[in-house]
Symmetry: C2
Subunit: 104 residues, 2 copies
DNA sequence: TAGCGATTGTGCAATTTAGCTAAACGGCAA
DNA sequence: TTGCCGTTTAGCTAAATTGCACAATCGCTA
């Protein structure tokens, strides 16, 4: 694989995570599979919008359809290590805060 | 901090990383501080473009100006844990590949 | 001071993305 | 079949992002 290509693949993953609603969804799914309706309620957006976010995460390989119960669709987190992302991001935020404070 | 707000902050970090050129830069800086000129060469874009990418990373708190040597500016990685991101992303990519293969 | 190399800021056109409304679809019960 | 519920898709507009050309700035040296 060409170098440029590798970074493009990686960037797609990050892009898929680069939205607050999608991060909320990923975070919620860490506790286990959840139906779309519950995610809709959690995010506080329309069904159509949440469904779209889910398709973005699905195409990135971050979540997957878990099972269907009648018309209800359950999604699950496909990748567990995402958890580590958040602890790192927290560190970035702390760093940023420190940098801002240093400006004064 | 409100929940929504927390996820917005996190999303900004991911958004800052959601571009192949910026990932190349971050990856390169893991080896130590580097001057902008070297990053320009690495990325293969114009100075103006790379400078813009650096400012995005800087505002997100991911990189910072390290030192100046004359007119030459060195940047460094502010957050080390980014490294863990990549191993996880690799896992996501593998997962995705597996999912695609299963479709056939 | 003039000029050069390194870096950053600005304006612009093309592309991408978010979320809304409306419509379509599948499963299920009356 | 008809109708309803949960979910997805399509079409649209507004806003954000990208990369380029060009101008501005900074440090150094002739």
């Amino acid at each position: 694989m060409k170098k440029r290509e590798l970074y493009e693949f990686r960037a797609r993953i990050f892009k898929a995570l680069a939205h607050p609603s999608r991060l909320m969804i990923v975070d919620a799914l860490q506790a286990g599979p959840k139906p779309v309706g519950e995610l809709v309620e959690l995010v506080g957006a329309q069904y159509a919008t949440v469904s779209r976010h889910l398709s973005v995460l699905r195409e990135a390989g971050i979540v997957a359809e878990d099972r269907k119960d009648g018309a209800t669709v359950f999604y699950r987190l496909e990748v567990q290590c995402i958890n580590g992302f958040f602890t790192c991001v927290t560190e970035v935020l702390a760093e940023r805060k420190k940098a801002l404070a240093a400006l004064r």
